[in-house]
């Protein structure tokens, strides 16, 4: 069952979860990027991404995961997400009138104004919303997986 490190599940689980991991991450990114068009968004996509990392923790064990994607790194990722969110919000002061103004409307980046009526979902819309979704997604991936990793490491301290 256990490998030489004394933790983690069987090799079958390890290999399969290693194979699935990038696909879950891509799905997470998809949910985050379509947050302004479909149900979902930063938190939901981030939770999916964090669940991928949690899967690694379950399959490979907390100590192994700590070596590859340590709690420090995940927290840094989280901080960058949070900083990006507030910075975009603060840019609203400078580029437009108020805090959190949607200053990107009409510009080339996510600035397209969708046509009247039903449409298949145009990705290049929403102004600052996709960027905020992305920031929230980063924050949730980092934060949620760091929480689970920390808990797993702390409960390992006993044995």
């Amino acid at each position: 069952m256990n490998d030489e490190n004394g933790e983690g599940l069987s090799p079958i689980v390890k290999i399969i979860s290693g194979m699935i991991f990038p696909f879950i991450m891509i799905f997470s990114l998809y949910v985050i990027m379509h947050g302004h068009l479909t149900p979902g968004g930063g938190f939901q996509g981030g939770a999916i991404g964090a669940s991928a990392i949690v899967m690694l923790i379950v399959a490979f064990g907390a100590r192994h995961t700590e070596k590859r994607a340590g709690e420090e790194k995940l927290s840094l990722f989280e901080s960058i997400g949070g900083t990006l969110f507030v910075l975009v919000a603060i840019l609203g002061f400078i580029m437009a009138a108020t805090f959190m103004s949607n200053f990107l409307v009409g510009s080339a980046i996510f600035g397209e104004i969708p046509p009247f009526g039903s449409n298949p979902g145009i990705l290049n819309t929403g102004g600052i919303l996709p960027i905020l979704n992305f920031a929230v997604g980063m924050k949730v991936i980092g934060g949620l997986s760091a929480v689970v990793l920390a808990m797993a490491l702390v409960s390992k301290e006993d044995d």
């Binding site: 927290s75 507030v86 910075l87 108020t98 805090f99 103004s101 949607n102």
Partner: protein
Amino acid sequence: MNVDWLLTHSPALLIAIPLLAAFLTPVIDRINKKARDAFVIIVLIIAEIIMIALAWDVFTGSAHIYTMGASSPTATIPAQAAVPIRIVLEVDGMSAFMGLISTTVSLAAGFYSLAFVKKETGQGRYYALLLLMLVGMLGMEFTGDIFNLFVFLEVLSMASAALIAYRFYYGDAVEGAFKYCVVSSLGALMVLFAIGLLYGQYDLLNMAALAKVMKYTTLDRIALVLLIAAFAMKCGAVPMHMWTPDSYTVAPAPITAMLVAASQASLYALFRICFSLYGLTLDVTTVGIIIIALGLLSMFVGVTMALPQKDIKRLMSYHAVSQTGYMLLGVGVGLYLLGKPDFDTYGMAAMEGGIFHIINHALYKGLLFLTAGAIFYKVKTRNLNEMGGLAHSMKFTTIFFMIGALAIAGIPPFNGFASKLLIYESAYHVSPILSIIAMLVSIITLASFVKVFHSAFMGPPMENAEEGDVPKSMIIGMAILTVGIILFGLFPGWVVSNIVHPAAQALAAQAGYIGSVAGGA
């Protein structure tokens, strides 16, 4: 970047800058520890300066309105809608007053923390959470949107709970944090349920717009019950105060000082709900009596429980409960008299007393908790039985403690006396019993601080005590609050007419609150 621009955007900046700093602090922490300390202090000083400028503008002019994401900060009602739907920040006299308290206490706690937590691990997160607490407090005090109130309440609760458990290796710190976490999350869920009730009836989340259409139906009454119970619990009113001593005792001293300001933010929310959201539609006599009763119970039970305590911070925590009673009494008398002919004289004086007491309490109780932390820093125990003779080595701390203790007991000429005088006189008009109990509580307060002073500072010096006083940054933190106490004690007339009266006026005048956001009342 001129002054007008800064003042216009200051409500949002005051929330955005500490929030950005909270996210940046862990990053800077990885680069350089000294830079992180400097960064946190600079951010706190900037917040203090902006807050003073904003408060001055609000006290001398009118309330500041800030609409997030609108085409202009004062465009509260969008072109296509009839009611405010965006997130609105509304900084009137009371909000600015509370904001001043929060930023000042945070600044003192920030300076104090530099030395106090120097030997701990995870300081990057400590400062990040400290800044998040500031964000939560300022957000609760500035927001004009009832759902945002809930969000910032939770931000504040979670940051506080994590910080209470900061020294988790003591074991009981985690216990205190868990208790705090359970009761505050249940309280917040009560608030959320009440928000749901209000939203279901009126389709509104903006407090001013809600107040405009408030009918005080049965559902509104249920929402009021839930809101009063939750916020009274969060500000530590007896008999829902049990979490207060538990969590205040085990938190690091600067965080305890912050927690005092945090529970006052909940007190603010309670007053804001009663005065601005419901106003005269509610049954002021019943609700006023409830708040007065909570105040009396808090004062009496808090102080009598404080007297036999052996743990210095637990003793002070019970005093925090007791002093909250004074604020509830003062403002409760104001609410009781609201709309009655006596309001302009006695009611206003009572509210001024209660609100003045909020800032006094934040200053001296913050100072006392910081001195308790200084004692703990030196002798590594909180048990009063094991202390003695600290005045021989800790001269500054002794002086600070004496000033704080005299102020909390209401000894002239310190600031506690002025606010208590206002409360005594106006509460006497409602019922002499109220004043008598308030004075009795004041006497027992003095008695229990005499006990602390005697057992910690007097007597022969301890054998194993280190020489010298605490580090400089801790003294700076305490000095900031001491200067506040002395200034407020020497010029109470100026403070009341220029700072406290606008705040009380902002609470009492509901029409002004509604008019500035939702258009004519």
